[in-house]
């Protein structure tokens, strides 16, 4: 197997915690993994992205080639659109629907919707709202990971175990909340995927 994932969002949204869970799951499945992160200047409210590659064979490049990504996971819709062009023909875009408007020329809701409508393989969901319903906006990342989980190429139970390992030291309550968030996201994706 080989899955090339681009994670995107706005500095401070925490795309790296999604990457951490996937990475943990991949390594425990004895898979190879490379994950290029962005640190430094762009973290201050700018657009951020991370290339995450998983494979059962050794991986050379830390960067994904254009048009070769299997999955784009975005915590922000305009940032999802920025990288949707990197997807291959069978690739999926999984994105949060809630914009982060911190620039004067941010597109209108209608413009965003029109652009997203042109992408056929996509899951668009309001993870912020779903996380709030689950009881904490802090788990919106994990809702997003859940929505992306059917496309990652790793067993769902392995991702659950990844969450258990990463959040384990924060106590059972936090683990369970994150597992619930994961399941809620997955349910949305399964629903959209089957359509």
């Amino acid at each position: 197997m080989k899955t090339d994932i681009i994670l995107s969002g706005v500095g401070g949204q925490g795309i790296l915690s999604i990457a951490a869970v996937i990475g943990e799951a991949a390594v425990h499945q004895q898979l190879y993994m490379k994950q290029a992160e962005v640190h430094g200047m762009s973290q201050r409210g700018g657009d951020v992205q991370s290339n995450l590659r998983i494979s059962d064979k050794p991986i050379y490049s830390d960067l994904i080639s254009r048009g070769k990504a299997d999955l784009v996971i975005s915590l922000e819709p305009m940032e999802g659109l920025r990288y949707a062009g990197w997807l291959n023909e069978k690739g999926w875009l999984v994105t949060n629907s809630i914009p982060v408007v911190n620039i004067p020329d941010y597109p209108s809701d209608k413009e965003l919707k029109t652009a997203l409508d042109k992408i056929s393989n996509k899951v668009v969901l309001d993870v912020d709202d779903m996380a709030k319903e689950l009881g904490s906006t802090r788990v919106s990342n994990i809702v997003m990971l859940g929505a992306a989980s059917p496309f990652i190429g790793i067993d769902y139970t392995a991702i659950e175990n990844g969450i258990r390992r990463i959040f384990g030291r924060k106590g059972e309550e936090i683990v369970n909340l994150n597992l619930k968030a994961l399941a809620a996201g997955k349910a949305v994706a399964d629903n959209m995927k089957s359509r």
Partner: protein, 531 residues
């Protein structure tokens, strides 16, 4: 053995810990910061067995690392590429003194300038100092190289440079570790002349360094980090160094048809390269950074050897490589541009909401704009450099650490009436103090704003060397107490700040204004910890 999932920076740190490191010295700088942070968080550092406190700048870091080596222990000094400029004096001379305890100089280059002012290639510094350089292609190699480099350094009695780039530093992969070694015990050189670079001694040392060059080449030729990989198609021979090797192999998943010399250790392995040149019709050099290997192979006159690389347009001369650039150069089908819908706009970084620099710029802009062309703002390196961007547009220069104050002084010397310097607290103690002294000694009519957020913000909130000491430093250097002001940059103090800046701009001597409020990122982190 289970692999650890580590950033390239973390792999370097872990290797140093395992190889018996006694001290790491560094000033934060992207993309090198995480090396020192990882060591600081280790049990050995928190337990007091390893030195890992931040240094004031790269020069003090380099000197302290050399001092630890002088005392027989293993030390590592880490910096971003431009940090090598700051420590160059100590760095070059450390090659003349040589070392006792193993000494590794990690230089993290930033091709494409993701977070930097230039994309200088540190391998030139390594060559300049005439020391061995190691350049890993992946995180495991980074680990293995650091682990080995201490032995290499001690065997040759010379500092060893580890050259990495952003992509390796900030990319995570599984890394297998090796057995832990004990730290060296305190011991000194048996040669009392070794570290005393009076001309009479330096000449002897320099000749020894020159004589070592042949030994370094021989070691490089036998090194497991330099390999000849056979290929059937000898129409091309490829030289690929460091991370560039990965971009080549990414394009040939079933194996590269051309012979390759993979470079991970310098000086260049002459015999391997000679073999490649003899076997192949032409050479292609893939290297991240400047065309160092390419130029060496081609020579000034380019006689007798066809060499392609960044210099002849085979690859772009500037910027970071990636698999697409390399694939295109080999005539493979790649997508050169991805389609991004028009509605997707640039999202540049910006100062955080609630950041103290914002309140400083709000006030500064009022006072400064009243002077029209008679005032210019000299900026520096840090979060506040974002003041160049809208909405503030309040910066006319940003060159190097500490340059704000000295450039303001130079412009004052030239006749600019109201020069203003904007510098952060950490940048000030890094390289601004001597600048301030120059201005004070000449009574330069400049207004220096030390925007003090009590941290090294841009790199993620590391301790700042001057926290709690800025007023005494300024007064000690000779700033007049009447022209030293500490303000609290908050909206409610806006008017007060404007009027003080306005007043001090009129003063025909050095004024220092310190707007002080903690970085909201470090503050939030502290609050979270307390919960």
């Amino acid at each position: 053995m289970e692999k650890l999932l580590l950033l390239g920076d973390e792999a370097i740190a872990q290797a140093a810990l395992d190889a018996g490191l006694s001290g790491v010295y560094a000033y934060p700088g992207t993309p090198s910061t995480e090396i020192t942070e990882y060591i600081q968080a280790s049990h050995k550092a928190t337990g007091g067995q390893i030195h890992s406190h931040w240094s004031s700048n790269e020069k003090t870091a380099m000197e302290a690392a050399l001092g630890m080596s002088f005392a027989g222990k293993r030390s590592m000094v880490c910096m971003k590429h431009v940090g090598v400029n700051v420590c160059a004096d100590a760095f070059i001379n450390a090659a003349i003194t040589g070392v006792i305890g193993g000494l590794i100089v990690v230089a993290a280059d930033d091709p494409s300038m993701h977070s930097s002012q230039n994309e200088q290639d540190s391998r030139f510094y390594g060559n300049f100092a005439m020391i061995p350089i190691l350049e890993p292609s992946n995180q495991q190699e980074a680990y293995d190289m650091v682990y080995k480099a201490f032995d290499l350094s001690e065997a040759f009695g010379i500092p060893v440079m580890l050259r990495i780039t952003t992509r390796l530093a900030h990319s995570r992969a599984g890394v297998a570790c090796r057995p832990e070694k004990a730290q060296n015990t305190l011991h000194y050189s048996t040669n009392p002349k070794q570290f005393v670079l009076l001309p009479v001694n330096a000449r002897i040392n320099y000749n020894r360094l020159l004589a070592s060059q042949e030994i370094f080449v021989k070691d490089s030729e036998g090194s497991s980090f330099n390999t000849f990989i056979k290929g059937k198609d000898t129409s091309k021979g490829i030289v690929a160094s460091g991370i560039a090797y990965n971009y080549l192999m990414e394009n040939f998943p079933d194996g590269c048809p051309y012979p390759i010399v993979k470079i991970g250790q310098y000086p260049l392995p002459v015999t391997l390269l000679n073999k490649l040149a003899r076997e192949c019709d032409e050479l292609i050099v893939i290297e991240e950074g400047y065309p160092l290997i390419e130029d060496s192979l081609r020579g000034l006159l380019g006689l007798g050897l066809t060499v392609h690389g960044r210099q002849d347009g085979f690859f772009p001369r500037a910027g970071e490589l990636n698999p697409d650039i390399v694939g295109k150069a080999f005539g493979l089908s790649v997508i050169e541009q991805t389609i991004v819908p028009d509605i997707v706009k640039m999202r540049p970084p910006s100062l955080c909401t609630g950041c103290s620099h914002r309140d400083m710029f709000e006030a500064l802009n009022v006072a400064y704009s009243e002077k029209g062309e008679a005032s210019k703002i000299f900026g520096d390196i840090g979060c506040y450099t974002l003041g160049y961007l809208p909405p503030y547009r309040a910066m006319h220069t940003c060159v190097d650490m500490g340059a704000s104050i000295t450039m303001a002084k130079g412009a004052a010397d030239a006749g600019l009436k109201y020069p203003i310097a904007v510098i952060g607290d950490s940048t000030f103690t890094h390289s601004g103090m001597t600048s301030l002294l120059d201005a004070i000694n000449e009574q330069s009519p400049i207004t220096v704003i030390i925007s003090d957020n009590e941290t090294t913000g841009m790199t993620g909130g590391q301790d700042s060397a001057g926290t709690g000491k800025l007023e005494s430093i300024c007064l000690g250097l000779g700033v007049s107490p009447a022209h030293l002001h500490v303000l609290v940059p908050l909206k409610k103090n806006h008017e007060e700040m404007v009027s003080i800046i306005r007043e001090e701009m009129e003063y025909r001597g050095v004024s220092v204004i310190i707007p002080r409020r903690e970085c909201i990122q470090t503050l939030a982190r502290k609050k979270k910890k307390q919960q």
